[in-house]
């Protein structure tokens, strides 16, 4: 067996209520998955809100410790990392809403330069600018287009590209993308999804793609897990699972997807 990039080993996470309540919520329950180091892929986590997919993402990023089970990156347990910075160089997040991810009062290039300085350890200005430019070129932009711009001066699609470029500066092995296209306009969505696929094929970056959109999941994923109330109800090769879902919940999810075919006046009108 080839070495693992990421192992999520029987991980659970519970949240307890406030001081006065005894209520405990199990956000993630006994989830395991494994990504190979020498076989980059797009691994998709699908589920509705409350299914625990964002909690899983936060645990993979090391932002939330699991209540039980272990997460290992290149064999090292996230709970006992010698250097958080070294881990962050290799595992980078992409968030849902790029307008929330960037401070509206700061120029976006600042984020790129700060990441280059801190994550890639660069110190001299030309090298920093070159690293930023190279990352921006990977996402179809360039430093000349972005330099000195504020977030509101860029479109949602461009800003999400800048967010992805920022994540690429330290040349990570794994991107954790939590709903990266759900705030993006339909006309730009295809280009962001295509970009993720290109990064996986060309730059050999593995991507954990978290979404509730089965159509884009079908379009880009290699493997998929379907989560419901913190548990994995179905997993496998994405196309096989989505073409022929076995679990009743997966079937419900698939049947709820509105088809953009016309005349499909059946789905809603005769529901």
């Amino acid at each position: 067996m080839s070495p693992a990039l990421l192992e999520v080993d029987r991980v659970s996470r519970t949240y307890s209520g406030g001081l006065l309540t005894r209520r405990r919520v199990t956000a993630v329950n006994d989830v395991s998955l494994r990504l190979d180091a020498d076989k980059p892929e797009i691994f998709t986590v699908v589920g509705e809100s409350g299914s625990g997919k964002t909690t899983l993402a936060r645990m993979i990023l090391g932002l939330v410790p699991p209540t039980s089970g272990a997460i290992r990156f290149r064999g090292a347990d996230l709970a006992r990392l010698p250097s958080r910075l070294a881990f962050m160089r290799e595992v980078q997040p992409i968030f849902q809403n790029p307008f929330e991810a960037f401070n509206p009062m700061k120029r976006v290039d600042r984020y790129l330069f700060a990441t280059a300085r801190r994550m890639a350890g660069l110190t001299n200005e030309p090298a920093i600018a070159e690293a930023a430019d190279r990352a921006l070129k990977d996402v179809g932009l360039s430093l000349a287009e972005v330099r000195g711009r504020f977030p509101h001066e860029l479109s949602g699609g461009q800003l999400q590209r800048v967010a992805i470029a920022r994540a690429l500066i330290s040349r990570p092995a794994l991107l954790v993308a939590d709903e990266p296209v759900s705030m993006i306009d339909a006309s730009l969505r295809a280009s962001i999804v295509n970009l993720l696929r290109d990064l996986c094929r060309r730059e050999r970056v593995s991507i954990v793609y978290i979404t509730h959109d089965l159509a884009t999941a079908y379009y880009v994923s290699d493997r998929i897990i379907i989560m419901r109330r913190g548990e994995v109800v179905e997993s496998g090769q994405a196309r096989a699972v989505l073409d022929n879902p076995q679990h009743p919940y997966s079937q419900l999810l698939k049947s709820s997807v509105l088809s953009p075919e016309v005349p499909s006046t059946g789905a809603v009108r005769h529901a």
Partner: protein, 331 residues
């Protein structure tokens, strides 16, 4: 078409600011004309900053500076009266709102006051339009909730005790309790999960059929339009670029932008490569000359760079604003 419920003619609404001697003019809605028939669901599609929210603000006369209406008219033909919404007094506007013209909003949490029970929202919004005693009013509300398959106990709940889908159903009940003739729905299902979304859309359609209301349904999600709208209008950069029956627009789009929107939709069971649209959406403070789509358009020629194409009928009931409408390939 029989006399439309809503007739919008040559509407221009710009955001005009003037600060430190710098005048800016954002042309959010530029020369839009459309008509909506009784009992029709009119889908309005377009990406963010295409002017669709400004258009419905102007239709509802929720105009706050710096937004200004420069030209055009918005006329409603309600059951008992004809109203030019920009010409009437504030007081009569309050009589019309909710009773004849209501609104389903995107964020249900923002509509319902988080520290008051749902019952108060119904009283605040609708009591003055229904009349009668409070007990009669609450009975009418309960009967309406039951029609929408909601239990009467939601009235005594706080908004945070309801799930997102349930809350959105409550806001739909709230918008329809006075049996309005015209409903504006602004991205009502965008924040919902797929499973919940389907149920909420079915509910909107059911209540619309029962009341016979017209709906202008705004969303950028083309799959929702395919399943709900009778007719579809596509906005790009403040202009209406195409309009027609939903099936016609999807089968044979006549504007390159519409064609792109439809062709780039990811579909379950289809992994053929999809092209993203190149370029960037135009800056509405300084829109491109001629057709506003020309910098991103594969069919653009000299005339597109020079003149703005007028909305012309390309087939019965199907209008498009493109000089090359006949060259647009099927998606």
């Amino acid at each position: 078409m029989s006399s439309p419920v809503l007739a919008v003619e040559g509407l221009k609404a710009y955001y005009r600011t003037s600060a430190f001697g710098v005048r800016r003019e954002v042309r959010a809605v530029d020369d839009v004309s459309l008509a909506i028939a009784p009992g029709e669901i009119y889908g309005l599609a377009g990406e963010s900053s295409s002017g669709k929210t400004t258009l419905i603000k102007t239709i509802a006369n929720a105009i706050q500076p710096p937004l200004q209406v420069l030209a055009g008219s918005v006329v409603f033909n309600f059951r008992d009266r004809t109203v030019d919404i920009h010409a009437i007094e504030r007081e009569s506007l309050a009589d019309i709102r909710w009773k004849h013209l209501s609104y389903i909003m995107q964020g249900s949490m923002n509509v319902l006051n988080p520290v008051r029970r749902v019952r108060h929202a119904f009283v605040d919004f609708a009591f003055r339009h229904v009349g009668g005693s409070m007990a009669e009013f609450l009975d009418a509300v309960r009967a309406h909730l039951e029609r929408l398959h909601l239990g009467p106990d939601v009235l005594d709940a706080f908004p945070h005790q309801l799930s997102g889908g349930m809350r959105q159903r409550v806001t739909i009940a709230l918008a329809t309790v006075c049996r309005p003739e015209f409903i504006i729905a602004d991205e009502p299902t965008t924040a919902l999960d797929v499973v919940v979304q389907k149920g909420v859309l079915a509910m909107i359609h059911e209540v619309q059929r029962e009341l016979g209301s017209s709906i202008i349904f705004v969303t950028h999600d083309m799959a929702v339009h395919a399943n709900l709208a009778d007719r579809l209008g596509i906005m790009y950069a403040g202009r209406l670029v195409e309009e027609g029956r939903t099936a016609d627009v999807f089968r044979r789009p006549r504007h390159p932008y519409t064609r792109h929107l439809i062709a780039s939709l990811p579909r379950l069971g289809d992994s053929a490569p999809k092209e993203g649209l190149g370029g960037t959406p135009p800056n509405l403070a300084d829109p491109p000359a001629g057709c506003r789509f020309h910098p991103r358009c594969p069919l653009a020629t000299d005339i597109c760079r020079r003149d703005a194409p007028p909305m012309t009928e390309v087939a019965p009931g199907h209008r498009a604003a493109c000089f090359h409408a006949d060259q647009v390939a099927a998606p």
